[in-house]
Symmetry: D2
Subunit: 135 residues, 4 copies
């Protein structure tokens, strides 16, 4: 986990309407998932059987983009908009689940898909944990 | 509008399960909105009364990030996942409406907020038009 | 071209140290190139011969990311840093040339690579045109 | 540090032409810096004296975008292009130095600027360490 996520939350000059520990965990898990998905897409491209992994690459690319954007939105607290955070977290959990399911189908054959599937599952959980504190 | 968005859709080698004209319109409108929001955030930072525009900057930054990600996801058709597209388009329409409303509050005083509010309204409409074809 | 890029430049409240017409052209061309590269990567994934296009996908993904970031940096004028703009424009022109060259190798066989190669060439030119005004 | 960055490098199916430990360190440091810069921009927006921090916000936004893109490019190894990696790492080190310098000017008064300046310095170092192994 990043050593600066929590210090950045703690030095924010106003109040934050969310559980800071869960928020920091979500941000770090989103960033780890985005990186794993970016790397998994690229690893798939270097497999001899890339033709069977085309959908996996696409799902990885979507998940990386959505996790990066969600991490950024959650890193902002000025003018907090619970509606938007919730809606984006729902979309992100959907992306993580799709990507975890797709990677899991190739996890026996490709270690990078196994590692990435785990990162996506952890990220879906972190999104849902944070959502649970927002209702 | 970009002169390459439609040619790229037309040269995609497989079928696309969406109305190509509405899809191209959505992609171009999302990219225009992302640019307007990025520029509006920066213009707000250069106003003397930036303290009153802090929430506007934040809303612009969120909207720019979400529009860029949505444009990318809509530009991919391999292994199409209607659930994810729908969920992300909902989040994006929410972001565009929030940003349009916030910019509209400053539109009388700041031309950049007026232009940006219009771009956000157009983008919310494009997202909802595309969503309407997906149900 | 986007109908809001130039209005956003014109409503920026302070002076801009660059040729506004060349700047707007660069921003629009960068966004068009980012979209073309994102779409070309995805179209390559749907080709039967995707194994021969793996490098093309990767080059497209890099070029899309770098063009999007360069477009954002050029859309900001507050606290302008010529050094950073120049350095990023150089990296972006390098990415566009690599991607144009790679796509051009497949342009006879894949129309999406032909359209994308043209978008990358135009984008390299726009970056270099803007760089030429900055020295 | 992320627990998946190194496993993703280790499961890449082909060879990687870079020192894997330095590469993993660079990727993690880039992601931490991008998060710190995104959070610092937002914290600046919530300070009463935001008008004096406008340039800091802008520098943070640029640095976040460039670090995220550099992290993505470094996470891809298929069809490796040393020229592009070098050029982007140079731009990224420039962005990190600018942002560190700007944040350092406010570090006595704002803890978030102090934490962010440290993250940017670490990131500039990681970029230059990796560059040193590439020549």
């Amino acid at each position: 986990m990043s050593t600066t996520t929590m210090p950045m939350l703690e030095t924010y000059p106003k109040s934050i309407n969310l559980d800071r520990a869960k928020l920091a965990a979500a941000i770090d898990t989103l960033n780890a998932c985005a990186q794993a998905c970016t790397a998994c897409a690229d690893a798939c491209l270097s497999e001899d059987m890339v033709a069977e992994l085309a959908k996996c690459v696409r799902t990885n690319l979507d998940c990386a983009d959505i996790c990066t954007t969600t991490s950024r939105v959650l890193s902002r607290h000025t003018g907090y908009d619970a509606n938007l955070s919730r809606s984006l977290l729902e979309a992100c959990a959907t992306a993580c689940r799709s990507c975890a399911d797709e990677c899991a189908r190739h996890a026996d054959m490709h270690e990078h898909c196994r590692v990435c599937a785990d990162a996506c599952r952890a990220c879906e959980r972190a999104c849902r944990d944070l959502l649970a504190t927002m209702s």
